[in-house]
Structure formats: C-alpha cells, structure tokens
Symmetry: C2
Subunit: 396 residues, 2 copies
DNA sequence: CTGAAAGCGCTAACAA
DNA sequence: TTGTTAGCGCTTTCAG
C-alpha cells in the first residue's frame, strides 16, 4: 500500500479480518458470514481496491481469458465473427483476447503453441480453422487446453467443433439461382474439384463446392472446369467478374446478337483481363446468367467487375453469396446470400469451451470419481443454422 | 517440472547455471558470456521451455501488452482501425489487447478505470475517443498509465493525441462536390450546429461540420438546418437517403406545378416519408445535387436510400464520404471519400506510447537526473494525412 | 466460519 | 560474469 495500490492485505486489515477471509468474501465464496462479507466489501470499496490479476493467475492458474484466433480484423466476415465471439465471451463473464494471424499458417501455429501467453494466460481457445493446415494434431498443439474449432470440417472431429452449414447453404444458394431461372451458372471460389474427389473433403470450400455442384447436377446443369473462376476476396472477385463478363459478351457476339443497348467494347473481348486468363486458361464463351460466390466478400467484387463490363445485376446476371455479412443489406444492389447465425455460433462455441473448462477444473479438484463416471471426453460437433436471404442481386 | 511444464529452474539446472543467469541469457541481457548463453538457450530448446508470463509480470510489473479500446469490431471503419493498430503493435514486439465498448460510455470508462486488468496487465492504452464523454480527466482515469487518445480533438490536449484531419478533410470533400458542379449540397451526420458555435468544438463531428460549412459558405452556398439529415451508420444513412430523395422529388414536382396553379407561395411541404419528418421536422423541397456524409458508413446507406427513391448516383446526386473504408473501392458505385492513412495513425500512436513507456521505465530505474533534465512531459499531438479519392459516386 | 503458513515462477538488488 | 537472497500479491491447504 505504502507505495501505491492497496493490496488484499490492506483490505483485510481495514476490515479486521485475515487476507484469506477477505479473498473469500470478495469472490463471493460460500462459508463467509454475511456481516463479515459486508465489512470486507465496504473496506474494498473505501480503499478502491482492485485485485491483482497477475498474482491471482500465477497462484490459481486460471485467468478467465479466452483466446480467439482469426485471420484478420478488416474483412466483412471476420469483423462480424469477432464481434459475435467477443460479445458472447463478455456476456459470460469471461474476457476475450483476440489475435489475428494475417492468414499465416505459421502465425496460427505459433498462436496455438509457442505463444508464451497460451500456456499460462488463457483458459481456453477458439480458433477459426481456415488458414490452418488440415490434419494438424490440434489437441496436442495447444497442450490439451480447452479448444474449440470453428468450421474445422473434419469428418471425424478431433476436437470440439462448430461448423458452418457449408454444404447445405451452398446447395440452397445454387437452387435459389436455378429457381430464379438461371441455366448457366458460374462458381467463384477456389480451384475446380472433380465431383468424385468431393466425396471426402475436410475444408469449408470443398463442402461448399459439394453443395453447389450437387444442386447443379441435380438440375441437369453443367459442373466442370469451364464454370469455375478464382476469387476469395473482393479484389479477386473483381477479376472474376471481369472474366465472367467477358465470357458473356463473347457468347453474345458469337451468337450474333445485336442488342442496341449492349456495351460497345463487348464483341469477343477475349479475356482482355490478363490476370483472369492467367488464372483460368480456358473459359468457354458462355452466356452465364447466374453466379454463385463461395463467400460474400468475393460476391461484392464480382458485382463490381460485372458492372465494369457493362453487365447489370440482377438484370443480366444474378449473383448470390454465402456468409451473410452485414454489408449485403446496404450494398447496391443488396446482396442475396446465405445468412449464417454467428450469434448462435458464438453461443455454441462458448457452451463447448466453458463445459471443457469446468470439467477440467472439476478434475483438478480431485473429483475424479465424477469425471470417470461421466461420458468419456468425446469431441462434440454442432452445425449452425442458416437462412436464405433473397435480395436484389437475384431479383426476378 | 515434475507435474508439467518446465520452469526456469529446470532450464538453469539443465544448463548448469543459476536461475538468474538463465533469465538473463534468455532475455538477451548484456553481461552473459556467449558460451553460457548458448548453453542456456540449448537447454531451453531441449526442454521446450516457455516463460510464465504471469510470474514475470507479477515480479517486473511489465507486460508488453497494449490495451486498445474501440467502440466495436464490426463496422468498416473500426475493423480497419483495429487491424492497423493491432498490426503495428505486433510489429513492435508488443502484444495488442483489443476491447470493444459497444458504444457504451460507461463501458469505456470501466475499460480505463475499473477493469482489473488495466492496473497490472497493460503497459499502455490506446483509445478511440468517440463514445467517451468530453472533458473527462482521462489521464487521471487510467491512473497515469501511458495513454494515447485517437481523435480526441481537444483544443488543448491533456494527453498524447493522434487526430484525424477532420476539418481539412471535410472541407476538401465538400469542395470536391462543388468543383463537380453541385450547388445544393446536403450534409448527413448529426445535428445542425450554428456556424458561430462551431468556433470552438472538441469532437470530430463538430470539426467535420466546421470544415464542410466553411467550404459551403466560401462558395456562397447554403449552410442551415434545411440541409442537415441525421445519419451515422448505414441504417440511419438509408433513412437520410430516403429523406433527401423525397426532398428532391418534391422539388421536381413543385417546379412542374409552379407555372400551372401555384404562382407565388408554394404549397406547404408534404413529407411523405414519416421517419424522415420525425427526425428532421422541416426540410425545404430542395433539388439536392450533392451529399456530404460525415462518414463512409452512412454514405453507403445514403446511396442505398437514394436508389430506393429511384435516384441515381452520381447522375442525379453526387455523394462523398469521409474515412476511406476498404469497402468504398468495391461498392457500386465506388465511393468517393477522404482516405485517411490509418497505418500512419497507428505508427504515430505507437511512437507516442512506446516513448511514454520507455520514459516511465527509465524513471523507475532511478535515472531521475535524466528525466528532470528532459523536456517536461507535455502531451504531444499529431494529425494524420489524407487523400481525396475521387471515384464513381462523384463522377461528372 | 476464520486464520496461519507456504509457495506459485519469476526477477530486482546486491554479493561474490 | 555469475550466484544468492528476497519477495511481488495472491490463493491452496490445512488447522483452528
């Protein structure tokens, strides 16, 4: 106290009790007389006492801090995810500690392993899987701390996991395009994966592709390399939009269409976007009338890129995304998308992690009987819900 | 070691030195023989040793953690700000701890004061001012810890501050509209503030308004209550867009009707948009041809709202924002804006905070002579640069 | 229901 | 250049 902040000793002294009793009173532990507790609380208030968390953590090994690991802050998807997780964490009386990996797998691995905080400072971790290599021994990497994986997409989960409705959502999105009359549908995302290979995939893009291709094939539409365009973020998306637009214009020219209102630079602009043609060497001259983007972020770019080619959304081409980022409601046109419930996701993730933390604490308390009696610690899996948001970008 | 993690003792023992020497070696302190250091490092590596930060912090009182406080994660502005600050913090070997207040002033105050972490766990704090009450005794609130205020806008700063170019940026934005031919310019932001009152303002919106109104008045254009519309985020922005659109349509109708029936005193204004008329009781039927939005987030909504009324941007109305959020480059139309350099901001903020931290540490080391000799600890202020990004939303 | 003793793992200060 | 001593502020343990 002499030099600065009051300590627990000071509070105890002021209340006329021992430090231990003061500690128990402040933590609301049972077995402290009400009058004693009141005295302690009053003393703490009077002295403006704040617990020293470093000391508390050092001794107890618990921090109430949850480590949240994502790729970045500044994207429509991650900013929403982080907000949902951080808010849910706070609501449970825990403290969220958010770390960004900037899409570096080594940074992600370091966050889980070498980060000196991890071992002592975090009670548990929630990590968004994309960016991690697959088939990592995650549970071992973080030395057995409570861990929840978001969108891990493992067929047999090795740790507690909350998955997005990747396959179902993508299927619903493509079906929506088909119902809106689209018959030539492009997919913007990663590489083409043959249908057979999609039988066993363990990452979100593969699952989305499985859902999307399934919907196409079910309706007798094409699913092959000629409909694939690269694009994960808005920059890529613009290029994809250009490439798709070029294909459409080329098809129109080939058909000898003579729309008066057609943009002049249109005819057979054989992939004037160099980068696009590098990414995808061969694209049929297809009059695409619909685009499914594997995420919203890319979708915004695609719409932009189509516009650059004089093509209107939804009049010429309909576009749908998946994720339900906040911005889709304000963009022009508003973006049709698969809205996933990130608040539900956050609740699931926190249910899982708090359950794991409690169980671990209980085990530490020597209630081994209880633990062995309980179900073995199998990894749990949940998949969150989704809603199709039909907005302007797919309007009739 | 017995039960779990290796401790510094274990490393020291394995290397055949004392714990203190091991500590010094691991921290790269001078005065350790190279061969000794190598032995220690090898032992640490072999044992997979990780420092226990809680113990380190408890003893040393230092953490290398910087507390970053913002209103939220999921907005285009804050996601970009947080990313810039977090990245810059990491680049300097410090650890960013980001906290959101959800626009609650009490949460902000708590983050600075009662948060038990604050006192012991953070070496310094960077806080985005908006959401704080003005004229708070900030320096005292965080008990003298190193503190940097972002966009504090105090006329006489009480703590180190990095400001946005609010006034200059807003002025440039409005001048740009004028140069593009706009003569009836609406402002979307907060309340109307009379020009005289703007002489002394201490928050970013007031400064933006000062810059915008200055540009209007310099060109002989109107600055009064009739051009103000409420809107800080995209939802508000949509409403503002509706109201502005209604005013334009009403003006067009009035002009059409003017010659026929109603010679002199025009019809009382009919505001068909209920919400708009609630927010702003009186809006002249003005054929607005330009809109300055006090931030980008609102601008996206305004464009959306104008579109809802059948008005095209930039053909019918030109729109400009301020902030330079990432999304403006991908939206349709792309958004003209004042791009502020958030990376520069982050560098400034970290320069200031590390300087303060170092100075404090030096003082602790008893180098009081140095400190008293140095300049007194006056708060520093910096203002970051900006660039006018003329994009589609203000195209000729 | 309350208190006394001990020590978490590290590092500042000083001694050798 | 290295080692020894002491203790940061709290909480676990166990005795009263």
């Amino acid at each position: 106290m002499a030099n600065g902040k009051p300590t627990l000793r000071d509070v105890a002294a002021a209340a006329g009790v021992s430090p231990m009793t003061a500690s128990n009173a402040l933590h609301g532990k049972a077995g402290v007389k009400e009058s004693t507790r009141a005295k302690v609380l009053a003393a703490a208030e009077r002295l403006d006492y704040r617990i020293n968390l470093t000391a508390s953590m050092l001794k107890s090994g618990r921090s109430n801090i949850i480590h949240i690991i994502v790729n970045e802050f500044d994207s429509p998807f991650y900013s929403k995810l982080v907000q949902a997780l951080a808010t849910a964490t706070t609501e449970r009386g825990l403290t969220p500690f958010v770390e960004q990996t900037r899409y570096s797998p080594t940074a992600a691995e370091r966050a889980l392993t070498s980060n000196p905080f991890s071992d002592q400072l975090f009670d548990g971790e929630i990590i968004h899987a994309s960016g991690l290599g697959t088939n990592l021994p995650l549970a071992r990497m973080n030395s057995g701390r409570p861990l929840v994986l978001i969108d891990g997409c493992e067929e047999t989960p090795s740790v507690d996991t909350v998955n997005f409705p990747n396959e179902e959502g993508a299927r619903a999105a493509v079906q929506h395009l088909i119902e809106r009359g689209c018959r030539h549908i492009a997919i913007v995302g990663g590489e083409f994966v043959p249908r057979a290979t999609l039988a066993h995939v363990e990452h979100s893009y593969g699952l989305r592709l499985r859902g999307a291709s399934g919907a196409l094939l079910d309706s007798g539409l094409a699913y092959d390399e000629s409909i694939m365009f690269y694009g994960y973020n808005s920059d890529d998306g613009i290029k994809a939009g250009h490439a798709i637009g070029d294909a459409i214009l080329a098809a129109r020219a080939a058909n000898g269409v003579d729309h008066a209102d057609e943009p002049v630079d249109g005819p057979a602009s054989h992939h004037d976007s160099a980068s696009a043609s590098e990414e995808f060497p061969v694209h049929a001259e297809t009059a695409f009338d619909g685009v499914f983007c594997a995420n919203d972020y890319a979708a915004f770019g695609v719409i932009r890129g189509l516009k650059d080619r004089g093509l209107r959304v939804p009049d010429d081409v309909k576009v749908i995304g998946i994720d339900g980022t906040s911005f889709g409601a304000y963009s022009t046109p508003t973006l049709s998308t698969i809205q996933v419930d990130l608040d539900q996701l956050a609740q699931f993730a926190l249910d899982m992690i708090t359950r794991r933390i409690e169980r671990r604490n209980a085990a530490g308390t020597g209630e081994s009987a209880d633990v062995s009696a309980a179900a073995p610690d199998q990894p749990v899996r949940a998949t969150i819900g989704y809603r199709l948001m039909a907005r302007e970008s797919t309007a009739a």
